[in-house]
């Protein structure tokens, strides 16, 4: 829209010249404005980052409680007060190592699936973050157990890893084997079966 009866540019120029004090302010105004904006953004960014890190640290593990690790440290602490057989510590460490291996395998196995779910928007940002954290944690945990093994027995670390691997798989097999009884009970309940003492169906 144009105003035909507007004042000309010259007159505004003169008007501005009359208010000298406003001109002085206008030199600093952009600097102050810019400074304020930058400070504001900096505060915002640092707060945001701090909160993010705090939130990340609070994220729970994607696995259930690591009982193997917890047990190891509990008994380690206990051994300061009472004597705990060296082989018990060894057993605890092997168990911890096996769990560490199980987790890293599991994470490897989950990787493409988590990727897919994250890309399709089925899971949120925080699970993705939790997964990334877990991968790092698993690495650290694995190295830690290897170091502990080395401390316990010089030059054992290499063999320790091989043993843990076997233990990890064998434990899985045992767990599966031990679940048979419970599975049977569930089937009886779900299918409302009647089984006699010899394990045969009552028709």
């Amino acid at each position: 829209m144009s105003f035909n009866d507007s004042s000309s540019g010259n007159s505004t120029f003169f008007e501005a010249e009359e208010h000298v004090e406003t001109k002085i302010v206008s030199v600093y105004t952009p600097i102050i404005y810019g400074a304020l904006l930058i400070i504001y953004l900096m505060i915002f960014a640092s707060q945001y980052r701090k909160r993010r890190i705090k939130k990340m640290a609070e994220l729970p593990s994607i696995f259930d409680e690591n009982e193997a690790r917890k047990l190891y440290f509990e008994v380690k602490q206990m051994s300061e007060e009472q004597t705990v057989h060296e082989k018990v510590i060894k057993a605890l460490l092997l168990n911890r190592g096996a769990e560490a291996i199980r987790r890293s395998f599991k994470l490897k196995e989950l990787e493409p699936q988590i990727n897919m779910l994250y890309k399709s928007g089925s899971i949120g940002e925080d699970y993705w973050q939790r997964y990334q954290n877990e991968v790092k944690l698993a690495e650290v945990e694995f190295k830690e157990t290897m170091m502990e093994a080395e401390n316990l027995q010089q030059g054992w670390a290499q063999l320790f890893v091989a043993l843990c691997k076997e233990i990890c798989f064998n434990q899985a097999l045992t767990r599966r084997y031990n679940s048979i009884f419970k599975r049977k009970e569930v089937c009886i309940k779900e299918w409302q079966l009647k089984i006699d003492g010899n394990g045969r169906l009552i028709q």
Partner: protein
């Protein structure tokens, strides 16, 4: 939080109070490892399986087979079950998994056949599930699973397993016959006239 107590004599760990499922499993695993470690004298032990235990298990299992050949199935079942149990208990957890798995699968297959003969279908089904869970997906396993499920009245599931078996071996005569039986029984089950 549950407290852990340590028995200096038996060198076993146990929980004070009610343990969670996870803790209970972990304690069991540690105690098994401790027992195995104590009987192990070599500090640099390897995953190499122990010959003596292998022999023990083999003998027990063989006597089970012998019983089965003489149609003494309940005794055979007892022997084979015991052999499996021993493999689970006597073997150290670090003994080569590949060997342990093969051994278990082999014994389970025979146990399943005995269970099926004895009409203990539910137990057979659990052992079959276990076999399949360990990656043993074969027409022979699926034939037995279909059979057990049919006997247990789980017709829909039986048909599903049977079809899966046929994808492994489309010409398997037994599976084809079982599929027909499934279809027939399902038609009756669903009142399809």
């Amino acid at each position: 939080m549950t407290e852990i107590s340590y028995d200096t004599n038996s060198k076993k760990l146990s929980s004070v109070g009610e343990p969670t499922e996870g803790l209970e499993i972990a304690l069991g695993q540690v105690n098994t490892l401790t027992t195995a470690l104590i009987s192990e004298t070599n500090p640099n032990f390897t995953p190499q399986p122990h010959e003596d235990v292998s022999k023990l298990i083999k003998n027990l299992f063989d006597s089970g087979l012998k019983n089965a050949q003489q149609n003494k199935f309940p005794e055979a079942l007892k022997n084979v079950s015991l052999a499996i149990e021993m493999a689970q208990r006597k073997r150290a957890p670090w003994e080569a998994f590949a060997i342990q798995l093969k051994e278990l699968q082999f014994m389970l297959r025979h146990k399943i056949d005995i269970l099926l003969v004895l009409g203990r279908y539910l137990e057979a089904l659990q052992d079959l599930d276990m076999l399949m869970n360990t990656g043993l997906i074969q027409p022979e396993v699926l034939i037995r699973k279909t059979d057990a499920l049919l006997k247990l009245g789980q017709l829909d599931q039986a048909r599903i397993e049977c079809e899966r078996g046929l994808t492994l071996q489309p010409q398997n005569a037994k599976l084809k016959a079982l599929l027909m039986e499934c279809t027939r029984k399902l038609a009756d089950f669903n009142g399809e006239i």
